[in-house]
């Protein structure tokens, strides 16, 4: 395991709960563990409701009302974000850590121009005069493939296409030269061809500028295109993490394998798509054993009693499954 000093982002045992006092308590994140090295691109995948977005919002400390972190730590560039005063946290948002949202059409304010909105993000964090900001705006719009600076800057969101807006969003995310970009389903609202362009753009910009990316998605091919490493989230826990190629080639966890099998591909054309039966437990915090056990085709008695720890399979590949622990003994007892 990498030491925390050279990590860009380290999330340890992060628990986020909903409700409390009046509403029933529900666990959204059930001990998430993540490591992100500087300049690394980490894909965070899982199905809807597994806690992907919640993880991203936790890093910025922008959880929706009613949700709160109960335990755990989030260290960014060596500092504990959960203990940081709100003032310093606000200086971090939009400068060192930025976010790209799922739907660019609603993420921009409809009554201000794109230029004004990006400029506002600059003036909030940078000590640049109007001309300096104008130059930086032109530079960053050029980088994201919007070279017609004057037109884009003067445009209101409703005057641009989804693809252009997402490029502008990326420009806003990069304008203050962050070291971490959280991309929350950045291509879900876009056409397939535009989505591919946006992913290629992100990959290229990341190579050029060396910022880390936390890429939140349920789109496995996109992960393959963009990410160095993948963490699979299930019911608020990271159940498997591995370098991208290794995960796609040799996934260990039954859930990951189900997820990979359920993704349509050219090779599987004509055959019936595999599906994982059942659904995510409503409150993962209430499950005693492995939260995937009720849906797992390989589950045995022990799975319902013991919460599986993260087991190293190779130095870079971990899986939270009892089968990974001692495959032979585990099967024998089944």
């Amino acid at each position: 395991m990498s030491t925390t000093t050279d990590a860009l982002l380290t999330i340890d045992d992060l628990r986020v709960v909903f409700g409390g006092r009046h509403a029933p308590r529900l666990t959204a994140l059930d001990g998430v563990e993540l490591r992100l090295a500087p300049g690394e691109s980490l894909g965070l995948v899982g199905e809807t409701g597994c806690g992907k977005t919640m993880t991203g919002l936790s890093v910025l400390r922008l959880l929706p009302p009613g949700a709160k972190v109960s335990t755990g730590s989030i260290r960014f560039e060596g500092e504990d974000l959960l203990r940081m005063p709100e003032r310093r946290m606000r200086r971090l948002r939009g400068s060192r850590v930025t976010m790209i949202f799922q739907n660019p059409a609603s993420a921009f304010n409809p009554v201000f121009t794109i230029g004004w909105q990006i400029d506002r993000v600059m003036s909030q964090h940078l000590d640049l005069d109007r001309r300096g900001r104008r130059e930086r705006l032109a530079e960053v719009l050029g980088e994201v493939g919007l070279p017609d600076v004057d037109r884009i800057a003067a445009a209101y969101p409703h005057q641009l296409s989804g693809g252009m807006l997402q490029r502008a969003m990326i420009a806003m995310a990069l304008v203050n030269r962050p070291s971490l970009v959280i991309a929350d389903e950045p291509t879900t609202a876009l056409d397939a061809t535009i989505a591919a362009q946006i992913l290629a753009l992100l990959r290229r910009l990341q190579d050029e500028h060396g910022f880390g990316v936390l890429f939140i998605t349920h789109n496995l091919p996109a992960v393959r295109q963009l990410c160095d490493r993948v963490a699979v989230l299930y019911a608020g826990r990271v159940i498997e993490t591995a370098p991208t190629a290794e995960l796609f080639a040799a996934a260990q966890h039954p859930y990951t394998r189900g997820l990979l099998a359920s993704a349509p591909s050219v090779a599987s054309r004509g055959s019936r798509l595999a599906a994982i039966e059942g659904s995510v437990p409503p409150d993962p915090g209430a499950v005693i054993g492995c939260s995937f056990a009720p849906r797992c085709p390989l589950a045995f008695d022990e799975c319902r009693r013991v919460r599986p720890p993260a087991v190293p399979i190779t130095p870079t590949h971990e899986s939270a499954c009892l089968l990974a622990l001692e495959p032979d003994t585990a099967r024998a007892s089944a």
Binding site: R90, R93, M99, F101, S106, P110, F112, R120, Q124
Partner: protein, 338 residues
């Protein structure tokens, strides 16, 4: 934008034309004899016939309407039956007082209504929100004449802070008379540096303006609260926060700008309502505006005066809504650039 303006102006003129037609027709079908009223009690038959002839009341209605329109456009709004003076000058004499009251009340209503609405949305469900909602309900449900009396009792009789009624203390006319510039006493006194009169005029303005503002404050506060809550829940607010934008900018600039259009629409409608409200308030506070004149005109079937006032009200309403439409377009590029 110019096409948008042209279209709006076109409708405005059409509405005014329609209103003139309606007021004219109504004034003519009201079962009374204007000529008899004009002469006064104990009018003799030949006198009535002469005045009927003189006022053109025996001509066909469409012709009377054309005459009427022609006269209106050339500034001849007829002669008041009650005061025997030209209606237009009667109205123009009193209009500045009414406008001063109305505009002051609206400024108060917009500023406080919006502010209260924003605070209420920001503190949703907590004590400040409850207080604002209480104020809003009180403002909307309290009749103006009653609120006016309450304020008079409190601020004049109990606290002795503000004058009871009128537009100016009588002695100001002798100590420090106001030079007429706009007809708005506060502005005239201010621009001529007449501080004594300014203070007095402003003090006289407070209670009636607040009374008149109560209803629109309540309405605007509730509307702003609702539209602010919606705006604060939008994605763009979350992204602004995710980019470290300060909370004050997020609320008062980014969200409020989106929340204003619905408030503006309500404001346009309220203003028209407040014009009639102003008449009540003027009577309670003995404010020398159009109120007393309008009420007298109505009670005495002084039809030239009634028509003049109705047309003025309609023109005000149309103008206000035109202004609201333009403001909407200015605030929202999706309207402006559509």
């Amino acid at each position: 934008m110019s096409r948008f303006l042209g279209r709006r102006l076109g409708t405005a003129i059409l509405v005014l034309f329609g209103v003139s037609l309606v007021t004219f027709t109504l004034a003519r079908v009201i079962p009374s004899n204007p000529a008899a009223l004009y002469i006064g009690p104990r009018a003799r038959a030949e006198e009535i016939a002469r005045v009927t002839e003189e006022l053109g009341l025996n001509r066909p209605l469409p012709l009377q309407y054309l005459d009427y329109m022609g006269d209106m456009l050339t500034g001849d709004w007829g002669t008041s039956i009650g005061t025997k003076r030209p209606v237009l000058s009667e109205i123009l004499d009193r209009l500045p007082a009414t406008l001063e009251l109305l505009i002051t009340a609206m400024v108060i209503a917009v500023v406080f209504g919006t502010l209260l609405g924003v605070l209420s949305a920001q503190w949703r469900g907590r004590p400040p929100d409850l207080v604002v909602r209480l104020i809003a309900i009180a403002g909307v449900s309290m009749p103006a004449f009653w609120l006016g009396l309450l304020l008079q009792v409190l601020f004049f009789r109990q606290l002795d802070l503000l004058p009871l009624s009128g537009r100016l203390d009588t002695d100001i006319r002798f100590i420090s008379p106001i030079t007429d510039v706009t007809g708005f006493f506060t502005i005239d006194a201010f621009v001529t540096g007449n501080w004594v009169a300014f203070g007095d005029a402003a003090a006289h303005l407070v209670l009636p303006a607040v009374t008149l503002a109560a209803y629109p404050i309540g309405l605007i506060a509730r509307m702003t609260r609702a539209s602010m809550l919606e705006a604060l829940g939008q994605d763009y607010v979350r992204s602004a926060r995710a980019y470290g934008i300060g909370e004050r900018t997020v609320v008062y600039r980014l969200a409020l700008r989106n929340a204003l259009p619905p408030t503006l629409t309500v404001l346009g409608l309220t203003l028209a309502y407040s014009l009639t409200g102003a008449f009540f308030v003027e009577i309670v506070f003995n404010w020398p505006g159009l109120g007393q004149f309008a009420v007298d005109a109505l009670l005495n079937v002084d039809y030239p005066a009634v028509m003049g006032i109705a047309l003025l009200g309609a023109a005000g309403y149309v103008l206000i809504n035109l202004a609201v439409d333009i403001a909407q377009a200015w605030l929202d590029p999706r309207v402006r650039l559509a």
